[in-house]
């Protein structure tokens, strides 16, 4: 999920020409391993640009998991039943765990956790645009599970085959856990659409209307405006293009919407027999860019909540460190 900003970054780090003969040889060996479908491990030689690209992508992904806890965390205390509350708690806890797997993977590339957090808290690092939209009703919880986690899974499954092995291993674990996220969301919506009042059904439709477009933006800009995609594909960091993933997601979701009894808010959405796929309307990329640049409905609120949580926890981290040091001194004495 959540690495869409990758594709909007400038070409500031375009691969530099290699210098020494030795480095050239290392580069050749690296390229050959990538071509052979080998995995790259943390201590293997890798081009500096490959390393930087991965740090950026994996940390954006990690930040998205952590910030992604916030919109849903808002609803834990307001879940309609104890069952739904337990499910939501488990899901939000999972997102925290996923963030941790990913931070650990990013750290293998030589960036410390503190550096990664600092980049997030200072606003320097990006996270997925999707978490800057508000969660207004209980139906948003189901819709996030169904559409947002659905889009995330579509995005993440190919990353399980990423050439950088620590990232791939983290993704395998995440994908295994995440399918429950989508299923619980769909089931929550289905319950409302099957047994709910008209007002509850309207609430579901309203949530779908608000989340549909932001969800399909999650796959990032169109391929022809995604300057770094080619390099990431070449390196086996990215396996399937943005547009291809978006199309797969839309094709999969249309039938699910019918089953649910909701409409998707796109009058141009229709089956194209020749393409054996759905055509869909134009995406408002100016909105995407605005939200990604920090001017979405909830950007400030999300970042402030995250920074507050970190700062409020400072005394706990310090106390644990102090306790550990004291115990170590006692043992040494």
């Amino acid at each position: 999920m959540y690495t869409q900003a990758m594709d909007t970054m400038g070409k500031d780090e375009a691969a530099k020409t290699v210098r020494s003969a030795e480095e050239m040889q290392l580069q050749e060996r690296f390229d050959a391993r990538i071509d052979a479908g080998d995995f790259i491990e943390a201590k293997d030689w890798m081009p500096e640009h490959y390393r930087k690209t991965l740090v950026r992508q994996i940390s954006q992904h990690a930040h998205s998991e952590i910030v992604g806890m916030l919109p849903e965390g808002n609803w834990i205390s307001r879940a309609p039943t104890l069952k739904r509350k337990a499910i939501l708690l488990a899901k939000v806890q999972d997102e925290g765990g996923h963030g941790l797997y990913l931070y650990a993977a990013a750290e293998t590339l030589g960036t410390s956790r503190d550096q990664l957090f600092d980049a997030l808290h200072s606003g320097k690092a990006k996270y997925s645009s999707i978490f800057n939209y508000p969660t207004l009703t209980w139906a948003d919880m189901g819709t996030i599970g169904w559409l947002v986690d659905g889009a995330a899974i579509m995005n993440q499954v190919p990353i399980c085959r990423c050439s950088y092995a620590p990232y791939a291993r983290a993704m395998i674990r995440i994908c295994r856990e995440e399918s429950f996220h989508q299923r619980q969301g769909f089931e929550a919506l289905l319950t409302m659409m099957t047994h709910g009042t008209q007002a509850q059904k309207d609430m579901v439709q309203d949530a779908v209307n608000r989340w549909w477009w932001p969800s399909i933006m999650m796959f990032g800009p169109p391929d022809d405006q995604s300057p770094n995609s080619a390099q990431s594909m070449r390196w086996g960091i990215k396996r399937v293009s943005n547009d291809e993933l978006r199309q797969r997601f839309i094709d999969a979701t249309v039938a699910q919407a019918q089953l649910l009894g909701v409409t998707l808010p796109d009058p141009d959405l229709k089956w194209n027999e020749a393409r054996q796929s759905h055509d869909f309307g134009a995406i408002d990329w100016s909105e995407f860019k605005r939200v990604l640049a920090g001017d979405g409905p909830c950007n400030r609120e999300r970042l402030a909540a995250r920074v507050k949580a970190w700062d409020d926890g400072a005394w706990v981290r310090e106390a644990a460190t102090t306790h550990a040091n004291k115990q170590a001194m006692k043992e040494a004495a």
């Binding site: 943390a42 201590k43 941790l100 030589g110 410390s112 956790r113 620590p166 644990a320």
Partner: protein
């Protein structure tokens, strides 16, 4: 996730751990940040009778917290019945640069495998 970067940055393996020490941690948002908790590698036995297997890493202040956090981070779905944690800087690993020297010599010793020996059909299950 970070199993392969865990070795100590002591003299023999200096530079193997790309994370290095925590000395280079920058001050953030205009303030001095506290030092990170040390890194631990986590090993989980998925069920009785099987080996503990490396499953990832985490930061924790001390061994007790490391075990508790490992339980929360890596065994939320009954993935294990036992957990080991070990400080990452206490693990010594082989150098990937020595991979060929260390492991390739075994490649031509095919006689170390049972399939190398051709026996009469009637005995082939030996």
């Amino acid at each position: 996730m970070s199993n392969d970067t865990s070795p100590s940055a002591g003299p023999p393996q200096a530079g193997l751990d790309p994370r290095g020490g925590s000395a280079g941690v920058p001050a953030g948002r205009g303030e001095v940040m506290s030092h990170e908790w040390p890194l631990w590698e986590v090993f989980v036995r998925s069920k009785a009778g099987l080996d503990h297997k490396h499953c990832g890493s985490l930061h924790a202040a001390d061994p007790k917290l490391a075990i508790q956090m490992a339980r929360d981070v890596y065994t939320r779905r009954q993935e294990g019945v036992s957990i080991w944690v070990v400080r990452s800087d206490q693990i010594v690993a082989s150098d990937p640069g020595d991979k060929a020297m260390y492991f390739d010599p075994a490649e031509d010793k095919v006689y170390r495998h049972p399939t190398f020996y051709e026996l009469p059909k009637s005995l082939d299950h030996m």
